[in-house]
């Protein structure tokens, strides 16, 4: 059970039960859908980018505790950062969950270290990174139409 507690830390359980920035309630101008064909998890990530800054970030869809918590934490922590910063965070987060170099996150992103537990579960790494890959796809879009439905 203790190994499982490492994987399912309280922060993860909390964010999966009550995901932050869940639902498309605010204006956005970029969005992308992401799905994990292995398990059927699906998320849509909505982003409002203005002057190169991620002004707002939200998501909807359904997934497991790991993917939902990761999406929720991502929306909290990347709001207000520059696009370039968000891209860089993706790379660093990816390194944390795949266990490359045993990297740990700092500068305000240390909350994401709770997801490092997926290192021991290769099948779950895709869960942890699903929302992040979706965000990356959304940020690549050039379409500036605001979608508010």
């Amino acid at each position: 059970m203790s190994e499982l507690r490492d994987l399912y830390q309280e922060v993860i359980l909390d964010h999966s039960r009550s995901p932050r920035n869940f639902g498309h309630h605010q204006p956005s101008n970029r969005q992308a859908k992401g799905n994990n064909p292995l398990c059927g998890d699906k998320f849509t990530v909505y982003v409002l980018v203005e002057d190169g800054i991620v002004k707002d970030l939200s998501f909807e869809g359904r997934g497991c505790a790991i993917s939902t918590a990761s999406a929720s934490l991502m929306t909290e922590l990347l709001k207000g950062r520059t696009e370039d910063d968000a891209q860089a965070m993706f790379e660093r987060f990816h390194a944390v969950v795949t266990g490359e170099k045993g990297e740990e996150l700092d500068d305000g992103l240390d909350k994401l270290n709770v997801l490092a537990g997926v290192r021991g579960y290769p099948m779950r790494v895709k869960c942890a990174t699903l929302a992040w890959h979706t965000l990356k796809a959304a940020l690549k879009q050039t379409d500036e139409t605001v979608v508010t439905e």
Partner: protein, 417 residues
């Protein structure tokens, strides 16, 4: 081979514990816990006689088949071809030549699509499948539809997972050329009334392909009694090796079907101007096949048929009833697939945890289940779930496995509330 005979004799009186003892992997541990294997619907484990048959092939009786004039090749060819007779006997086909070896059910269905389908289906024609098909009985038809322009229709099931026969029958017309149905749903456990389906389909002038991947290890199957035109199954779900399976087709249909893969071993003669193709089944078996896997499947068929099959059916019915009763008592658990006519497969969801998380927690307790969409996303969509947890049983499964599953689910509730 004496070992095979004694193993078969021991298994004849249905004794699940003795059967379990024939599967070396079931004595192993996972995360420090004894393995509780509840994923036989994905792939069954292998008894020692099957493992030995594969090893003995490589150790003492292996060469390429249908080619060499030397003794070793001839003996290998004979062992390989003998499996056709075993597979014929298993499903009670009329002739050995109606048994085509493929890599598995998926390839068997693709063979029918690309050979019979490509030659016989076009605009204005319809292929009817059911809502509970595995992706392998959906996607080959979509690929072919996009190539030849026929219409693909889907017959729905109800909220218990039972095919709605009235709608099914109404979906048939003179435009229907082929009906493709699973014998047993991998995601729901529903057993389909295949005999009734073939009668209705034939009355409409359509052929019937049955996906027997799940049916073959659980249901006594007689292709002549079912009167299906094609029947596909895999060796690995019948306690045999992976990468080998069968397509059964009625002889008069196979005789008129064009090849779908070109290569060695499927020809009568080749010149640069023209190739004369071999007769079925070899017409459909281009290239060097899975020789040891086929011989292993033969051993699996012998082993399976040596079981007390009535005893096996009663054992699996008991596991389904016991599993359903125990799981129904778990708070917040909902069983997906409640057809009255059901086999030893139980899909479920919990209100507090996602199937993927449940799978990880169960794994930590040594319990192997499938968590996901089971290659049947339309089934998940019907029940508006992203995924389910599926516990599936085999000849070696026991009530103890179910007890272990249920207590492991307590851990899920402890963690997720």
């Amino acid at each position: 081979m004496a070992d095979t005979a004694s193993a078969i004799k021991a298994a004849r009186r249905f004794d699940a514990a003795a059967i379990r003892g024939q599967f070396p992997i079931l004595g192993t541990r996972c995360h420090g816990k004894p393995l509780t294997f509840l994923d036989s619907a994905a792939s069954a484990q292998k008894p020692q006689v099957v493992i030995d048959a594969v090893a003995e092939t490589y150790e003492g009786q292996y060469a390429n088949i249908h080619r060499g004039v030397y003794d070793l090749s001839e003996r290998t060819s004979a062992a390989f071809e003998a499996v056709r007779g075993k597979a014929r006997g298993l499903i009670n086909a009329a002739h050995d030549d109606e048994i085509i070896f493929t890599s598995g059910t998926t390839e068997s269905i693709n063979l029918v699509a690309q050979s019979w389908g490509r030659a016989n289906l076009g605009p204005g024609d319809e292929v009817l499948i059911t809502e509970m098909e595995h992706h392998s009985n959906i996607v080959p038809w979509q690929l072919l539809r996009d190539q030849t322009g026929f219409t693909l229709k889907v017959a729905p099931f109800d909220d218990h997972g039972v095919l709605i026969m009235e709608t099914f029958e109404k979906s048939l017309s003179e435009r229907t050329k082929l009906v493709c149905v699973t014998q047993l749903s991998n995601a729901l456990g529903t057993i389909l009334p295949v005999r009734e389906i073939t009668t209705m389909a034939h009355a409409a002038g359509a052929l019937v392909l049955v996906d027997g991947a799940q049916g073959i290890p659980h249901l006594a199957t007689d292709v002549r009694a079912l009167d299906c035109d094609f029947y596909a199954f895999s060796g690995h779900k019948l306690y045999g090796p992976s990468g080998i399976g069968v397509l059964y087709g009625k002889a008069d249909l196979l005789a008129h079907m064009p090849p779908w893969k070109g290569g060695g071993d499927m020809i009568a003669s080749v010149t640069f101007e023209k190739t004369e193709f071999a007769a079925p089944p070899h017409r459909f078996e281009a290239g060097t096949p899975n020789i040891a896997g086929t011989i292993g499947m033969g051993a699996a068929i012998d082993w399976f048929q040596g079981l007390d099959l009535d005893g096996l059916a009663a054992h699996e019915d008991d596991l389904l009833a016991y599993g359903t009763a125990c799981l129904s008592e778990v708070p917040g658990l909902r069983i997906i697939g409640t057809a009255p006519d059901k086999a030893a497969v139980i899909s479920f969801v919990l209100d507090t945890a996602h199937p993927h998380d449940i799978g990880t927690v169960l794994d930590s307790q040594g319990v192997a289940v499938r968590a996901g969409h089971h290659c049947a996303q339309p089934v998940m969509d019907h029940f508006d779930v992203a995924a389910t947890v599926r516990a599936s049983f085999g000849a070696y499964s026991s009530r103890d496995d179910i007890d272990t599953l249920v207590s492991a689910l307590d851990q899920v509730r402890e963690l997720f509330g």
